[in-house]
Subunit: 318 residues, 2 copies
């Protein structure tokens, strides 16, 4: 009987889940609503629904289910899955015992932070294949990050590593949602891009972006950028410059082999990644950047559940 | 016969060296001039002089010398000791093959970056005893840094990790000696402290620090700070705020168990470390700072050679 591993990626909107072989083949996948707005009990119920569906699918596919992995927002005690720190997209989630939840149904599970799972997925079956160390970023409304060193996730002494969004980019700068001043996230995540595009548009009377100013979507900005719109180009270039400086700083500090950029912002496309790459190489020391590669994430929305499933592979179970 | 390990710490002014037991007992130590201004051949000659003296001392002490370790400025390929990247304090040092140099005398050696050696020394026999992960800083004219994760130095994919001095603190800020803008070092190392003290003194006509303005030494500023001088206090407080913000950023990124602060600036004393600690805890997330300790380095000028010697302990030889 073929072995499969179950992965679940819990997000503020959806729970994505699937079955994976040890070779990285996706046997089955689906998504259901997480209903985060209905409170943590509903989210927990939906997590277990996803788990039951995975058990059912494993049976239907005549495969042997060899373990569950869950990626969750927040600071997550690995591998037992106590949510110990803030997770703004799922109100009331802190304090949840995800491992206990699965245990109550007789299911064994390993739980980690969602950004760690995404990085593990990309590392094993996506952009990071064949590397030993990498800095993995997911940039959307917020910024997720994980660092793989010598083939191992660096979770930090309290499982709280990875807040790249809240390292300082501009001392005494703009107030961030988190309350600090000058954080990377305040300047480079999607809300900051929308804000700066609106500001820049004040100079450009004829930009088609002005038509829908109150409802400016990131994809609209990306499309305009791809068509060469001046305002969009200026906004994206500024974003790339600030993000590239922050990533270049991390390269100077940690000297990874690769930087992998994923999440909503990566949809701005190759020209955007090229701009970031240029700035990273300007800011990074020659010795740190000598063999550095800057690449787009490859697994898209599947990275999270794929990485979660991989936690049960023997070599990643430590 | 008692086993000893030889450590050599190469600096811009001095070569410090000594013999260490596996239990961390210092059997013997000395320093000689490195004569960096006389070129790399002279420095190499002095390194070998120190090595010969260590061999002699090991014999004199009736001990068995079990290996040499060298800490050198610059990017150092570990363990063979090719100097692959910039080392401004020893002109012409890039390209030197330190391992080959020792090999030519029949001596086996392990070579690493000097900040890595200091961190290893503090980790095993100083401020880091009993911990698993730590962020180690040495702040003087420049800034040295190393990160220990799960008991292992993180050297980076090209041995170029550790440029905490050149992560951005203020986007588009002050020009740094390295050519970048807004680096931590440009705002927080000793030259920046002297510069900002001079600026601040413009407001304080009566400060005794004004007497020697052209020759303002860091120790003079520290003494004035300890006596409550207002200008010195303002300069040190600003330094602590900027440095604390940068360290707090790294805590958010890497979530270490301890931050160890050493080097010339640490001589500003406990009140200075207290100020830095306060800012770090303000900037770090609760989850990342929960069990964090901020402590002064304990081995002073000996950390480098002690750590270099430790590279030959079996458990640190990987």
């Amino acid at each position: 009987m073929k072995k499969v591993y179950a992965g679940i990626d819990l997000g503020g909107s959806y729970i994505k889940a699937g079955l994976l072989t040890a070779g990285g083949k996706r046997v089955s996948s689906f998504k259901i609503l997480s209903e985060a707005g209905s409170g943590p009990k509903t989210v927990a119920k939906n997590l277990l629904l996803a788990a039951e569906k995975l058990v059912f699918l494993a049976g239907k596919n005549k495969t042997k289910l060899c373990g569950f992995g869950v990626g969750s927002p927040g600071t997550i005690r690995y591998p037992d899955g106590i949510v110990t720190g803030s997770s703004p997209n799922i109100p009331g989630w802190v304090g949840t015992n995800i491992g206990g939840l699965f245990g109550s149904r007789g299911l064994e599970v390993k739980v980690d932070n969602d950004a760690n799972c995404m990085a593990l997925g990309e590392y094993l079956f996506g952009a990071g294949r064949g590397t030993k160390s990498g800095f993995y970023l997911t940039i959307g409304t917020g910024i997720g990050c994980a660092f793989i060193n010598n083939g191992r996730l660096m979770r930090g002494s309290n499982y709280a590593a990875g807040e790249f969004g809240h390292i300082v980019l501009k001392y005494n700068g703009k107030r961030c949602k988190c309350g600090r001043r000058g954080c990377v996230e305040a300047y480079t995540a999607v809300p900051a891009l929308i804000h700066s595009t609106k500001n820049i548009l004040k100079k450009y009377d004829k930009s088609p972006l002005k038509k829908n100013l109150n409802d400016l979507a990131p994809m609209t900005i990306f499309e305009a950028f791809k068509k060469g719109d001046k305002a969009a180009t200026e906004a994206i270039s500024l974003n790339a410059k600030m993000l590239g400086t922050a990533i270049g700083s991390v390269v100077n500090l940690l000297n990874p082999e690769i930087v992998v950029i994923g999440g909503g912002l990566a949809q701005a496309g190759k020209k955007y990644i090229d701009k970031i790459r240029k700035i990273i190489f300007e800011f990074a020391f020659d010795s740190a950047a000598e063999n550095l590669r800057i690449i787009s994430a490859q697994l898209g929305n599947n990275a999270g559940w794929i990485g979660a499933a991989c936690m049960n592979f023997d070599k990643n179970s430590g």
